[in-house]
């Protein structure tokens, strides 16, 4: 889905893989004119993620993360490539990049110099560890990032190894911080500052920022949260993933009211006034006994029944769906959340829609992700005024 709220914004997108491309996708979905600049061999993320059988050079994730962008190729090691790049920056509001720190400077494209040359431009840099510090140039992957940032230690069984979260969740979190930062730089510029800035977003810090349970709670209580198995933690609540007859269900029982309703759901109203469970503090002290009772009840019930009967009582209780079930979930269907894209290479795929509904706009269908260099002619010819023969020459020289 594509809105047009930001259609006066010009973004030069020098990102690859996930954190950068998702940041620019958020802007593109809001209507910003995003031109994705790739090396002539394509960015590393083109082959990323699940691929349809027989299609090696275009991953499904690339096709999702780069919707609504136009794509050009440029060899920034060629002087002519850098000149054309400067042409794209002229009049642009944002340059967004997620190379290793120092990469742009080594190409003669240091962000501060770019801003000096194009004062209205802001540069958002998203990197593993930030633009400075002793480990600025260090490497990360998702497993190592989650572990270091504190997400992993409290997850899993007490007597087993900690369990990492799935996928690349923190890359997306960093993308969000990057997209927000881009809007912040524009707001600052337009509300009085008058010029752009070079913004530094560290993926490690974005990971830590979303872990306030550990870092702050620990200082207050002095207690390190250890792995609590199926429970989120042992506390004055029951936040737990429970086995039921046909899968798993997630329960979030925190308030007195939710607990009373849970007792009602189980047909055990007397538990609400039981001296072991009648206050939040007692529910923490007797958390194991409480869990045992609830577990025994859930194991004999079906997910759908628990969901319906729990929610009827305003208990946050949900079935735990597979990603396949999320794709088929009635609620997402009714809201037309997933969007079907007819990708020119991969064919039809269903992808998540934009999470934001701006009531001032009607959204329109997304444009598929660009093929490598798909908009070279449109951008270099249209925006920069190059002739067909000049474009042909650049192509032969390997500059585009």
């Amino acid at each position: 889905m594509r809105y047009h709220a930001l259609n006066d914004l010009r973004v030069v997108d020098l990102t690859h893989f996930i954190a950068g491309p998702y940041a620019t996708k958020l802007l593109a979905d809001m209507g910003a004119d995003v031109v994705k600049v790739e090396p002539v061999w394509g960015e590393g993320g083109r082959k990323l993620g699940p691929r349809r059988a027989g299609i090696e050079d275009r991953g499904g994730l690339f096709a999702f993360l780069n919707l609504n962008k136009r794509g050009v190729t440029l060899n920034l090691k060629h002087e002519r490539g850098r000149e054309l790049f400067a042409g794209l920056l002229d009049g642009a509001d944002l340059l967004i990049e997620n190379f290793a720190p120092g990469t742009l400077a080594a190409l003669g494209l240091a962000p501060d110099e770019l801003i000096a040359k194009f004062p209205r431009l802001s540069v958002v840099s998203i990197s593993n560890f930030g633009q400075d510090g002793p480990e600025r140039d260090g490497k990360l992957n998702d497993l190592v990032l989650f572990a270091r940032g504190g997400w992993t230690f409290p997850v899993g069984e007490r007597d087993r190894e900690p369990l990492t979260p799935p996928g690349s969740l923190a890359q997306y979190v960093s993308a969000l911080y990057g997209a927000v930062a881009a809007m912040q730089a524009l707001a600052a510029r337009d509300l009085g500052l008058g010029h752009g800035q070079h913004i530094d977003v560290s993926i490690l810090e974005a990971t830590v920022a979303t872990m306030i349970y550990e870092t702050v709670t620990f200082q207050y209580s002095g207690i390190v949260r250890s792995r609590a198995g199926k429970r989120f933690a042992v506390g004055p609540f029951l936040i737990v993933t429970l086995k039921c007859k046909d899968g798993y269900a997630g329960l979030h029982c925190v308030t007195d009211k939710q607990f009373e309703e849970l007792c009602d759901l189980m047909g055990r109203r007397e538990l609400a006034s039981d001296s072991r469970f009648n206050t939040a503090l007692n529910r923490m002290l007797n958390n194991d006994a409480l869990l045992e009772i609830v577990e025994a009840f859930f194991i004999g019930r079906e997910r759908k029944w628990l969901y319906r009967e729990g929610q009827r009582r305003a208990i946050p209780l949900v079935p735990i769906p597979s990603v396949a079930e999320v794709l088929e979930w009635e609620q997402t269907r009714a809201r037309n959340y997933f969007e079907t894209i007819d990708d020119p290479v991969i064919g039809k795929i269903r992808v998540p829609g934009t999470p934001l509904r701006l009531t001032s706009h009607r959204g329109e269908a997304s444009r598929p992700a660009p093929r490598l260099g798909e908009h070279n002619r449109e951008i270099f010819g249209g925006r920069l005024g190059l002739s067909d023969s000049a474009i042909e020459t650049l192509k032969r020289a390997g500059t585009i």
């Binding site: 977003v201 830590v208 798993y248 969901y307 934001l356």
Partner: protein
């Protein structure tokens, strides 16, 4: 110019928990005037329960999570079940730019504050509603919080050990909440920019679950391409091995490591002095290591069990292997990279004293974000906001206190 907004944007935050309050907190970082409204009976549930400690110790002022997510706001109380409370809230709406709410669908309408009513009061106001599953659709009334949103987005279904019995685990950080909040901030920044052009506010709807689903798009595409539901992989990787978490010497000390090439694997083996494993036919290539991963993990676990986590990390980092300690909270705060960038900020907050809080993530050199102001006590700024911002007299405010419309201590029962 010190901050982006320099107090020129006012945010009215009537949300609770984390997702909504994070929106207000991030606007406070930008220098907006953020007024958080609570009810003395139904105060923000993230303050915790009154039963946790004796009243004189002020238990609801001791919630680390509340005190983090509400930094930099002015706090007022209003009884939203009373006509007078709603009337005052409407006056605040009149002088605000943004209204943040994350009640269940229908609650704002019942309070007489649906978007049409809000727009009639202030057409420039931008209102954001953050229901868990959306404001329409057959399941829009279902209750969800961070963890339940995470489940319905498909995240929990992917979180389990590779050799588990199917047990699924919730993430440690209620990710659905901050992700909803971050999307909310982004949406509001877009709408504010648009308002500069059009002069009009609008309603933004953000279904929290819809903001988290994109994070597992790869698993959804995998399912579409293979027609197989992706299995929980635990600490393992689709292609690479070793890729896991291993116990080191000491109590509950672990490291996470990954080798993404044969070369990294050989360097790991030589750093640990276990070259024999690198030459073992079961482990020479990535596909062989993947096929014999249980045996590989058992060998590595033996090798690490007598070395401290710090030593392991130092050895392997020097060898160019992807590695990190599995950090508990204190170690995250002490992380040398985090420390060198002064990411955490010290804040002295009434009742609890001085602690370190996570700072603002984005570094904007010319308009720095400010994450160093404390969260308000319940009703702390009643007098300031109602007198200075709404121009009420001392008598008006005393009357509101007497009738229980406002207050600064939690109440179990309403004033009759």
């Amino acid at each position: 110019m010190n901050t982006i907004f320099d107090g020129k944007v006012r945010v009215l935050d009537i949300s609770m928990g984390w997702a909504g309050p994070l929106v207000g907190q991030m606007f406070a970082e930008m220098g907006a005037d953020v007024v958080k409204v609570e009810d003395t009976h139904h105060f923000d549930w993230w303050r915790g329960s009154l039963s946790m400690a004796p009243p004189e110790t002020q238990p609801i002022e001791r919630a680390a999570v509340f005190n983090t997510a509400n930094r930099g706001k002015r706090g007022v109380t209003l009884d939203l079940a009373s006509a007078r409370g709603i009337e005052i809230l409407k006056r605040l709406i009149e002088v605000s730019d943004i209204l943040v709410e994350n009640f269940s669908p229908g609650v704002m309408e019942r309070l007489g504050l649906g978007y049409d009513a809000v727009r009639a009061i202030n057409s420039r106001l931008i209102m954001i509603s953050m229901p868990s599953f959306g404001s329409d659709g057959p399941e829009c009334n279902a209750r969800g919080y961070g963890n339940t949103v995470e489940a319905m987005a498909g995240v929990t279904g992917l979180t389990g050990y590779h050799d588990g019995n199917g047990q699924r685990y919730t993430l440690s950080n209620a990710l659905g909440d901050p992700v909803g909040g971050l999307h909310g901030v982004f949406a509001l920044m877009v709408a504010l920019r648009e308002r500069e052009r059009t002069g009009r506010g609008q309603l933004i709807e953000l279904a929290q679950v819809e903001s988290l689903i994109p994070f597992v798009a790869d698993a959804m595409l995998d399912y579409q391409f293979t027609e197989r539901v992706p299995a929980a992989r635990g600490n393992r990787h689709r292609e690479h091995a070793p890729h896991g978490i291993y116990r080191c010497a000491g109590d509950d000390n672990w490291i996470a490591l990954a080798c993404e090439s044969d070369d990294q694997w050989r360097r790991l083996a030589s750093a640990l002095g276990i070259e024999r494993l690198a030459d073992d036919a079961r482990f020479t290539s990535e596909s062989a290591r993947k096929a014999n991963e249980d045996a590989l993990d058992a060998e590595l676990s033996r090798a690490f069990s007598s070395i401290s986590a710090d030593d392991c990390v130092a050895l392997l980092r020097d060898a160019g292997v992807l590695v990190a300690p599995v950090n508990p909270a204190a170690a995250v705060i002490a992380d040398p990279q985090i420390q060198s960038r002064e990411y955490f900020v010290a804040i002295d907050r009434a009742v609890v004293g001085t602690h370190l809080y996570p700072g603002a993530v984005a570094r904007l050199p010319d308009t720095p974000l400010r994450a160093d102001a404390p969260a308000p006590l319940l009703g702390e700024h009643n007098r300031q906001v109602f007198a200075e911002t709404l121009g009420m007299s001392d008598d008006d405010i005393a009357e509101l206190e007497r009738t229980g419309v406002i207050g600064s201590s939690p109440r179990q029962h309403r004033v009759a």
